[in-house]
């Protein structure tokens, strides 16, 4: 029999993932189908022919029957994203998604001229500059290594505008230095900041898990870690609690949530840890924020003060047309709002022009910019066009180095602390990534994606899941659907995060000890070597092989 092939019909082998299914192992319990948030599976019946023998002696006969089976939908709308929830719930190991390297999805998924949108991070830029860098300057003789377990280490970084020694309002009185004037606010915090993921982008439970982990790390383990709220406001009770001091409030171009923040100010019993003005984001530079309507649930509408619709933060801050102007308007107003007691920092996407911006801010005579956060191309997002994720952006490693060296040239290193993000810890080695960035000149790093991966996100940079934008997150982390949110055990998620950070803290010691340092080696590039000559040259560190 000859079949006419309809080549424009969509079939499973056109999609990113194919479901491997063993009907003999399947008990038809239906768990896989009910678990799949993307409705990528369905029950079907198949006609089967097989041979049976029922008598005391072999009496084979051919029979036909119809068999209920689980099948993948051949649909772009309901395509399998490889999240593996079906495999997780199957009691008999009968089903699992398998990556289809011959996928045609990227060519076909444009109904009505739509662009492909997704969350996650770039799936193309997999080069890892940091992996070619080693901590190669090991103390052995003249400068002996330290004992990572017994020695005391001071693992903290400044957050806030730092004045030069000749600018400090200090006078000598009775052989002591005394403060004789006002100074910009600054505090010493852990060199890793839990990055800016909003309530809205994250489920309330996931956001809460990060809050809990932050509080536990501070209060129980004395690790002064700070988390950034993301653009989307905060629960009023948290703003009026003592825990506000661990939170950096973010303001971005949509100003989402700021109405409630401002209204809460009179009732705040603690100042927030800082304000982060988001100008750009490494995952989608030049693009604004985006929260799809699917995720704008009732509580999100309340926190942000918006109706249910796609929430777009503009790609620029309306009314700010120059760096000088932004310093005058936005930074000053944010400083003034908290009576000049809270550091105000800026977050930008790493770009060819980042150093110019940094230089300009360093020259700001009012000393009001308290941190320069640079986010690289390997940063994550809850929603973006795939073309932005994969094809726009700038690696952050050399850009941080460039910014640091630009400050060195002016003798102003450290005046505006440099914080780098975008792919930090993306291979699980957060301590090593942070440590190398610090040696290159960063004061610390900020992280996002790795946090949700620790909470339970199964998405990765090889195209697995990345459906943070759909509201259908199968792990309950990036969704506002209360049924899905129930999947996340908030306490276990927070515990995993705390455990990971405790191990990062230990790993920091294991990196500091061999180079003989008990405080953070900010700018100590001589501690690093690279096995890649081009990288070594660019970063001005030794090439080794």
């Amino acid at each position: 029999m000859e079949t006419t092939v309809k080549i424009n019909d969509l079939t499973e082998n056109d999609l990113n993932w194919e479901i491997t299914y063993d009907s003999q192992r399947c008990t038809r319990c239906g768990r896989c189908i009910s678990t799949c948030t993307f409705y990528a599976l369905e029950m079907k019946v198949e006609k089967r022919a097989y041979t049976v023998s029922e008598g005391p002696v072999p009496t084979p006969k051919r029979v036909f029957s119809t068999l209920p089976i689980v099948q993948q939908k051949s649909s772009l709308k309901n395509m399998c994203v490889g999240c593996g929830m079906c495999e997780k719930v199957c009691p008999n190991h009968a089903i699992r998604p398998v990556r289809n390297k011959d996928t045609r999805e990227k060519l076909l998924n444009h109904a009505g001229g739509n662009t492909i949108k997704r969350g996650g991070r770039t799936n193309l830029s997999v080069e890892r500059t940091l992996d070619s860098i080693k901590v190669g300057r090991i103390s052995q003789m003249t400068d002996p290594s330290l004992d990572a377990i017994r020695h005391t280490f001071d693992i903290q970084s400044p957050f806030g505008r730092i004045l030069g020694p000749d600018e400090l309002p200090i006078k000598v009185e009775d052989d002591e230095l005394k403060i004789s004037g006002q100074m910009p606010p600054a505090s010493w915090i852990y060199p890793i900041i839990f990055g800016d993921m909003s309530i809205g982008a994250l489920s309330t439970r996931a956001w809460e898990a990060i809050c809990i982990a932050t509080a536990v790390l501070n209060e129980k383990y004395n690790i002064p870690i700070r988390m950034c709220s993301g653009e989307g406001g905060m629960p009023i009770k948290l703003m009026q609690s003592k825990y506000l001091k661990y939170v950096i409030l973010q303001i971005a171009s949509g100003h989402f949530g700021w109405n409630r923040i401002i209204k809460s100010m009179p009732d705040m019993i603690e100042d927030p840890a800082g304000i982060l003005i988001k100008i750009g984001q490494g995952a989608k530079p030049g693009d604004g924020g985006l929260l799809m309507a699917a995720k704008v649930a009732k509580h999100i509408q309340e926190i942000r003060g918006v109706p249910k619709s796609d929430l777009l933060s503009p790609p620029n801050h309306q009314g700010l047309y120059s760096i000088e102007e932004s310093v005058q308007k936005m930074f000053l107003s944010m400083n003034a709002a908290f009576k000049f007691k809270v550091p105000v920092a800026i977050k930008v996407a790493a770009s060819s022009s980042s150093v110019s911006v940094y230089n300009n801010l360093l020259r700001d005579p009012y000393h009001i910019v308290g941190g320069f956060f640079m986010d690289g191309i390997q940063g994550g997002t809850g929603a973006a066009n795939e073309v932005s994720l994969d094809h726009t952006g700038h690696p952050v490693v050399s850009k941080v180095r460039d910014a640091y060296l630009a400050a060195v040239k002016q003798g102003k290193q450290g005046r505006i602390p440099l914080w780098s993000g975008g792919g930090m810890g993306m291979t699980g080695d957060l301590a090593a990534d942070a440590f190398k960035m610090i040696c290159l000149g960063a004061n610390g790093v900020f992280v996002g994606k790795i946090l949700i991966q620790l909470l339970g996100c199964i998405g990765n940079d090889a195209g697995r899941c990345n459906q943070c934008n759909t509201g259908l997150c199968p792990t309950g982390i990036c969704t506002q659907d209360y049924r899905l949110v129930q999947r996340l055990d908030v306490d276990k998620a927070a515990e995993t995060l705390v455990n990971y950070m405790l191990s990062v803290d230990n790993e920091f010691r294991k990196l500091l000890a061999p180079i003989g340092n008990s405080t953070l080696p900010v700018g100590r590039s001589d501690a690093l070597v690279s096995v890649d000559e081009a990288i070594a040259n660019k970063l001005q560190i030794p090439y080794v092989c």
Binding site: P144, G160, E176, I179, K409, Q413, G414, G523, R524
Partner: protein, 369 residues
């Protein structure tokens, strides 16, 4: 490890005393250099204490360059000490053709200059001469300051001492403060400028160990002051930080320790000066050191002090017999020059101490807390 030492005495002493302080501390292949700085000079220098003295070594062409430069700048030479040298077969060090120790009258008009202007002039002359001589590799300028004498050479310290006749005590070449190092930092190129003690506008300093924050210190210091240059040794950073804090910022000496080895954050939580200490830590984070080091320093008024890194990974001891105080790496040196002293009163400074000795040999122990 470099062996370092300094003697401060009520009565002027000869450099031989310092050589004997260091001799028993020699170990292994300590033959990479020798340097000595003497201040508060007497003997043949007693009548020119207020005249800036240029200490340098040069080729014959270099000598002519120096003469011509000083003349052009209006300095007139009023005193020269030409050490009687003793060359012997087998002396293991790189000799320069000429060693100059010359005192000058300042150019006319300088009598009206403020002390700061004079300090600045003397520094500029030294830096410019250094730069000129460097261009043709014709010499090295170590100090240009009143009442200060510097000798630096590369090679076997014992032989260098022998060459300059420093092993035999006399009352001609004497001073009340002598800072010395046997063996220079060998981690980088062995050059004369890398030999401690280092000198800048009356500040003298030597150190041992490795400055693990060398790159951080250097990158920051390069833009702070025109005199912060060279960096042939990672220990020069300690001198520049001292000069910057004490001379440029005019902060009390105790803040040297506060800046280079800040108190741990947990000790600052309830500290009465928490705000100031935090602010200077933030501001001067790039001047922090992370050891392992012992530093011996001297201020322009000849106040002597020693501090360690916060891990105290290098030895140092302070001893006195009432007539002189010595700070040095190892106690066996003290036993040679002051065998009669009460060694029970020797001070082994801890990682949070600054030990300060004034001209009356009063010893003050200041604890960073």
């Amino acid at each position: 490890m470099c062996r370092i030492g300094c003697i401060k005495s009520l009565d002027p002493i000869h450099p031989a005393k310092a050589l004997y302080l260091m001799l028993p501390q020699q170990k292994g292949h300590d033959n990479s250099g020798f340097a000595i700085v003497m201040t508060d000079l007497e003997g043949i220098f007693s009548k020119i204490k207020d005249k800036p003295m240029l200490s340098y070594s040069a080729t014959l062409k270099g000598v002519r360059i120096v003469e011509s430069y000083m003349k052009e700048k209006g300095f007139s030479k009023v005193f020269t000490w030409e050490p009687k040298t003793h060359s012997k077969v087998g002396q293991d060090f790189a000799k320069m053709p000429h060693y100059g120790f010359e005192a000058y009258d300042l150019p006319s008009g300088c009598e009206k200059c403020s002390p700061e202007e004079r300090e600045s002039l003397l520094l500029d002359v030294r830096l410019e001469l250094r730069s000129i001589l460097e261009q043709t590799d014709d010499g090295y300028v170590f100090s240009f300051w009143p009442d200060v004498l510097t000798i630096k050479e590369i090679g076997n310290p014992n032989h260098i001492g022998e060459f300059f006749g420093l092993w035999e005590e006399d009352d001609r070449i004497i001073g009340r403060n002598i800072m010395i190092q046997y063996r220079q930092n060998t981690n980088y190129d062995i050059v004369r400028y890398a030999a401690h003690p280092f000198f800048l506008q009356g500040y003298v300093l030597c150190a041992n160990g490795e400055n693990t924050f060398y790159v951080k210190n250097k990158e920051y210091q390069q833009s702070l002051h025109r005199g912060y240059l060279g960096f042939e040794s990672d220990s020069q950073c300690f001198l520049y930080t001292l000069h910057y804090l004490h001379h440029e910022l005019a902060w009390p000496l105790s803040y040297y320790k506060q800046v280079i080895t800040p108190l741990p954050f947990e000790d600052l939580t309830n500290h009465p000066n928490k705000v100031v200490l935090n602010k200077i830590r933030e501001s001067l984070a790039h001047l922090e050191i992370n050891g392992p080091n012992t530093i011996i320093g001297m201020l322009p008024d000849n106040t002597l002090f020693t501090v360690c890194d916060s891990k105290k990974l290098r030895p140092v001891v302070v001893g006195t017999n009432g007539k002189m105080v010595a700070i040095t790496s190892e106690v066996n040196g003290l036993n040679v020059i002051m065998p009669e002293r009460n060694s029970e009163k020797d001070i082994y400074p801890n990682e949070r101490e600054t030990v300060i000795i004034n001209d009356k040999l009063e010893i003050k122990r200041w604890k960073q807390q």
